[in-house]
Amino acid sequence: MTEKISRFLDDDLSHDETLHLLKTITEQPDLKDKLKRYAAVSHAIKTDDFLWISIDFAMRIQQEIQQTPIDGLPHQPSDGYLLQ
């Protein structure tokens, strides 16, 4: 799976592989950390700048959107992961 994270960074995964990886990453914090480190290193190599994403970045967005209706749509609860 970690090799797929490397390939994901380089847009080398197919549609289904990407979807599966994204789903797995949301369930496994270790893989999310690995992606974060790979992405930070990739950016550092290109720019000479080490840019680290805080641990709660995605979590804060998630919390916010749970309470946020989409413009033009009635508020609906999450259906969970529909695509397996």
């Binding site: 380089d10 197919s14 992405a39 290109k46 840019l51 989409i70 033009g72 529909l82």
Partner: protein, 201 residues
């Protein structure tokens, strides 16, 4: 790069459609997919990393709120990119107004950006640690076996696709994937103790 750009756009369209039908969890995937790109983009305007992340969060929340208006005429990332640039520029204007009585409009955001770039946002300790991290990355790349060093260099510095690297190195694409992965793992192995020491979480 971009061996699968159409697949990637197609996946984005599917995820957006799911969000538009009320599946909020599909938006989490889009956040994971694009968070690094958006933070890096915003950081070009908002130099303080913590502020840049706040602005990037705002970008995703704005995108979520407006996702019903996304029709798929452009790629999702193009749409998100525009929201990010506008949000970052607006943030610069708002910050400049907080510090000044002068009226600043969106066209002057570039000027404000240049001024903000001059500000030193990092502590000496952070600067030192960041420097050490960059040195470690460079040293690790220098010490990689030649085939791994060339593969990661062509990928990261030159932005070549795996197919192009395979042609340049006269080897199968699978070998390129493996070399780039092993190079990243080697860097990760050297870097992890520094990140733990620096409390990067």
């Amino acid at each position: 790069m971009n061996s699968y750009p159409k697949n990637s756009e197609q996946l984005d369209r599917e995820l957006v459609l799911r969000v538009q039908h009320g599946d909020k969890s599909a938006f989490d995937f889009l956040v994971i997919k694009y968070q690094h790109k958006i933070i890096q983009l915003v950081n070009r305007y908002v130099k303080d990393v913590s502020d840049a992340q706040d602005v990037a969060q705002e970008v995703f929340i704005k995108a979520y709120r407006a996702i019903h208006s996304f029709r798929g005429d452009a790629a999702f990332y193009t749409w998100l990119y525009r929201i990010a640039v506008n949000t970052a520029k607006n943030d610069l204007v708002t910050r400049s107004r907080r510090h000044s009585n002068y009226q600043v409009d969106i066209q002057t955001a570039e000027v404000v950006e240049n001024l903000l770039q001059l500000q030193d946002m990092e502590t000496p300790e952070t600067q030192l640690l960041n420097q050490e991290i960059l040195t470690t990355i460079k040293k690790t790349i220098d010490n990689l076996p030649e085939e791994m060093r060339i593969a990661i260099t062509l990928c990261e510095f030159d932005g070549l696709s795996y197919e192009a690297i395979a042609q340049a190195m006269d080897c199968p694409v699978g070998t390129v994937r493996s070399r780039i992965f092993r190079a990243r793992e080697a860097i990760d192995h050297e870097l992890t103790p520094l990140l733990i020491y620096g409390n990067f979480r």
